[in-house]
């Protein structure tokens, strides 16, 4: 989260009240990321019951999922409604390899990366040439295909799934810190990718695909790159998920999960790394707080999604572009 030295760029338009300026300075600050990390590191010192640790670990994994989807939806503007498919591919690949071949979980990571890249290409290559809304529904179908396939095949254990997946570490606390480290690297990596040359191309494609094409951006390749990056992030989050639960089943990878990740990205602010992290934490911790309202929770999420789009499409913590004039 280090910001490059501010070049003497044209002054960014500042609007709003003094309070608004103060909060926007706070949002822009490079310390926000470090503060978030500090909170994540210190949290187990405040509360370290097994339940709290498991909730926090899940939240961290969810942050990783959201930052992966943010590459696809936030940076590149491609709506992926089956993102959980990559999560499932990652979890199942590592689960199958570790239980059938007896490999330690870490050793499955290269295979997971390879398989998710292939999955990203298989689903992205035919659809990324088309209008973006086709992509949305094809990914939705793809999410279902993966879940149904996992449900039907023998090698994935059918409806009961895979159990007895070896963990990464013995103690839940150590595992929590390991997850925090991995997730931080993933979040920072996604953010750096977003600021790279490729990231600028992604944002160009998001804002105006035809103009990007005319300026010499190979839009198809750039979109495919975003899609593959998102797939790898999702797959690696899947490995963490498998390690945490030690058992996976098709029931964990429904459309509901995809929609929740999307909700986190949209709520936090598409394209904004801190926003997406906050959004993911809110979405994953909210059910713990609102346990009594379980029946209305998803209904409220749906309404919230519409409201955010109507009232504050930029999300809670919007992305501030470093380019002038936006």
């Amino acid at each position: 989260m280090t910001a490059p030295a501010p070049a003497p760029a044209p002054a960014r338009p500042r609007r709003g009240t003094a309070l608004g300026r103060a909060t926007s300075r706070l949002f822009d600050s490079r310390w926000a990321g470090l503060a978030g990390l500090a909170i994540a590191v210190l949290a187990p010192f405040v509360i370290a019951t097994p339940y709290a640790l498991s909730v926090m670990t899940s939240a961290a994994i969810f942050v990783m999922l959201a930052s992966g989807l943010n590459i696809v939806v936030g940076f590149c503007g491609l709506l992926d409604l089956g993102y959980v498919a990559f999560f499932a591919v990652g979890a199942y690949t590592s689960g199958v390899l570790s239980t059938r071949l007896g490999l330690p979980l870490v050793a499955t990571v290269p295979a997971v990366i390879a398989v998710t890249v292939v999955a990203g290409i298989v689903i992205g290559a035919p659809t990324l040439r088309l209008r973006s809304d086709y992509l949305a529904i094809v990914t939705l179908g793809f999410g279902e295909i993966i879940r149904i396939t996992a449900n039907n095949l023998d090698v994935t254990g059918g409806p009961s799934g895979i159990y007895g997946i070896p963990g990464l570490t013995g103690s839940p606390v150590v595992f929590y810190y390991l997850v925090v480290v991995v997730v931080s690297v993933a979040v920072i990596g996604a953010s750096r990718l977003g600021r790279s040359r490729l990231g600028r191309a992604w944002r160009f494609v998001r804002e105006d695909e035809d103009a990007a094409e005319a300026m010499g951006v190979h839009t198809y390749r750039v979109k495919l790159a975003a899609y593959i990056a998102g797939a790898v992030w999702g797959g690696l989050a899947g490995v963490l998920f498998a390690a945490q639960l030690s058992a996976i089943s098709p029931g964990s990878f429904t459309f509901l999960q995809s929609a929740l990740v999307l909700m986190a990205v949209v709520l936090g602010g598409m394209g904004s790394t801190p926003g997406v992290v906050i959004g993911a934490i809110v979405i994953s911790l909210l059910p713990e707080v609102l346990r009594d309202l379980a029946d209305y929770r998803f209904f409220a999420f749906g309404v919230l999604l519409i409201l955010v789009m109507l009232v504050r499409p930029q999300g809670l913590w919007p992305h501030r572009s470093r380019e002038a004039g936006s």
Binding site: T127, Y134, I145, D295, G302, I306
Partner: protein
């Protein structure tokens, strides 16, 4: 063989009815209405509620009662489609496409889980069940009720086709599909026509919902999710935005699924359908009748 074809055509006519709403809305405002499948679910539950309020129906009266319920339900789902457009889509018409898609997902979510909160998570048994006498025709077992449902579906589709191709209203729809701004300059009330398009599409989906409820005998809050996907697949196969193509696409998908199930087994049916979708998008993304379209609604 004949049985497979008949089953395919029967299921396909449901797909076609739902797909038409998708296709019309897409044709006119280039919006994928994700909540469309949930309007179908809403229709099934509306029919369920009305039948529950009416009370017991003697088997002989089942079909006339069902037709009455169908009409009322079409009105209800049509209006809810209008409300949906008004609340979730109209304010965003000039916003980026991504926002519209996201509100559509939100609307779908809200409808599904709103219904879950209202009616419970367990499947409900439809109070009226069309079972009945079977007739042998060319080696296929056909029930008269299936024939009746198909006739209703065909009548609705034919009516829609006449409306779109022969009436002033249909001309207005096609004009908006071509160019909304010019259509507005020519004195067409664009918002009103879009509202009516949503009404029509949602009414057809509601009709399909009631028919599916009465035929399969069970309704649940997620029933619209899968059929929404299948309907989209049908629309893409036929050429989205093209009404004839969409109907053909629905029937074709029904047939493909019927044969796919026979060859691969029932548990692969949905995978097969989406495989077809991805294949079509790769090979011929405009669909079967996509290129002939000059009139898109």
């Amino acid at each position: 063989m004949a049985q497979l074809i008949w089953n395919g055509l029967f299921v396909g006519s449901f797909y076609a009815l739902v797909a038409l709403g998708y296709s019309m809305v897409y044709g006119i405002m280039k919006l994928l209405n994700f909540a469309h499948g949930d309007i179908y679910m809403l229709g099934a539950f509306t029919g369920f509620a009305i039948l529950g309020a009416v009370g017991g129906v003697s088997p002989g009266m089942a079909l006339p009662v069902l037709l009455g319920v169908l009409v009322v339900t079409m009105g209800v789902t049509g209006l809810s489609g209008v409300v949906l457009e008004r609340v979730a889509y109209r304010p965003l018409r000039s916003a980026p496409r991504l926002s519209l898609l996201i509100t559509a997902v939100g609307a779908s979510f809200a409808l599904e889980y709103g219904m879950r909160a209202a009616a419970g998570a367990d499947p409900r048994v439809y109070p009226l069940r069309l079972g009945g006498t079977t007739v042998e025709l060319l080696g296929a077992r056909i029930t008269l009720q299936q024939v009746a449902l198909i006739i209703v579906a065909i009548a609705l589709m034919a009516g829609l086709n006449v409306l779109v191709t022969r009436t002033r209203e249909g001309r207005a729809m096609r004009a908006i599909a071509l160019d909304p701004r010019t259509a507005a300059l020519m004195g067409i009330n664009v918002n009103a026509v879009i509202s009516r398009t949503f009404f029509l599409g949602s009414a057809l989906a509601g009709a399909a919902g009631v028919m599916a409820g009465a035929y399969y005998g069970k309704v649940d809050f997620l029933m619209g999710f899968l059929i929404g996907l299948k309907a989209f697949t049908s629309a893409v196969i036929g050429g989205i935005g093209n009404i004839t193509g969409t109907m053909l696409g629905g029937l074709l998908l029904g047939l493909l699924e019927s044969f796919g199930t026979y060859w691969l087994g029932g548990e692969w049916r949905d995978v097969f359908a989406f495989g077809v979708l991805i294949l079509f998008l790769t090979v011929r993304p405009t669909g079967l009748l996509g290129e002939r379209v000059t009139e898109r609604v």
